[in-house]
Symmetry: C2
Subunit: 233 residues, 2 copies
């Protein structure tokens, strides 16, 4: 019997690379999908390609979509600064300016179309509700609601092929995620986390995403392979 | 008090034009969104623009997205023929080959991002569960599930601004839709329905969408302003 097909959302960061490693370890035949959406850290896409190749996915689409139209996010609008050195990230309650409106909903919708095209009944997404940035579309109740909607949306669903949205990291800390990836042989040096990389592609070390990454590697007791550069001011 | 903002999905066909007319009549400040998704009837987009101008929307985005990647639809794949002269459309039970995987989910996801950007709490979509083509993403239960998901997906939702998905045509026949539009002063000559238009842009008269349109105008007792051409064979 051939392996079950799965679509894996792949950004090129720690979480999605680990999610892909988990899906592979669970025996899925993986098809990756990434998005060039106007993000200022588009360098993550070359990391996504390297991760996809290293993990031997069966196919990898990089979809061009323009989310800068519906902006108000520091990730897509160069006039908004990416917050740096915010203290106590785990205690914040406000959704930060790096939130991109409806981003995961758009990404998962494309994944759903892709799943239907190749008759895949599984979609993997690396959202995480613990060491995350407070985005609403990373919460378990959101993922459950998307799955319920997806199972009414498609021809495949009507014909009895339910789709399952897997979020294997949802209750893990960043350190636990990194330990999981290391156990699965994942090389994190090909991943990228920084929201606001330097012109040479190295990480700023100060944005929320860099902070979460650094803290995760430190707590996991794993050397962080990231090149952190210093921005000239 | 200023009018409430609404996003209206606008294809350029009878249903979405009528939906826009209803939203306007209900006093909404309307923002239209259309999609160039690789459809073979891209002529509908110039109709969408004419409808948007005629209805004096506040803004109209035409978003370029490529759904041909996730094909298997006669609307986006020129190697698949658009079915013609299918009898008894209202009795069919199979989802036709013109179904585009996850199309309404992708469209509504963009509308959700747009709504969040402009702080609109309303999205209008012209889906219809009676005189329609049997698409799963046109059913009331699908719309309700999308709304439930949307209200967990966004920063706006978390902050207490619920979004409502309006589907005012969902229980109307095509004839009732046309009568509604006529009462609201809508000029259907600027709309386009045909899935497989002739090179000169006129309608084939034989695809499911043309058949539903013809039947609707006939049952409504309203002259059909459509130019139906004959394809050279």
């Amino acid at each position: 019997m051939s392996a079950k097909k799965a679509i894996v959302l792949l950004s090129g960061g720690v979480d999605s690379a680990t999610t892909l490693a988990i899906a592979k370890a669970e025996g899925f035949d993986c098809y990756a999908i990434s998005f060039a959406y106007g993000q200022r850290h588009a360098v993550e896409l070359s990391c996504a390609q390297r991760v996809a190749m290293a993990m031997k996915v069966s196919e990898h689409y990089v979809i061009n979509i323009d989310l800068t139209l519906f902006g108000h996010s520091a990730l897509t609008d160069y006039e908004l600064a990416v917050p740096k050195n915010r203290p106590d990230l785990e205690k914040h309650t406000q959704i930060p300016i790096t939130y991109v409106p409806a981003r995961n909903t758009i990404f998962l919708s494309y994944a759903l179309a892709y799943a239907e095209q190749i008759a895949a009944a599984h979609i993997f997404i690396g959202v995480n509700a613990l060491d995350y940035s407070g985005y609403p579309d990373c919460r378990p109740e959101y993922i459950a609601a998307f799955e319920a909607m997806a199972n009414l949306a498609t021809k495949a669903a009507v014909q009895g092929s339910a789709v399952t949205i897997h979020a294997p990291l949802i209750n893990l800390t960043k350190a636990q995620i990194i330990c999981t990836g290391v156990k699965l042989g994942l090389d994190y040096s090909v991943t990228h986390s920084c929201y606001d990389p330097l012109p040479n592609g190295t990480a700023c070390g100060a944005c929320d995403s860099c902070q979460l990454r650094k803290k995760g590697f430190a707590e996991a007791g794993v050397p962080d392979p990231t090149l952190y550069g210093a921005r000239r001011t």
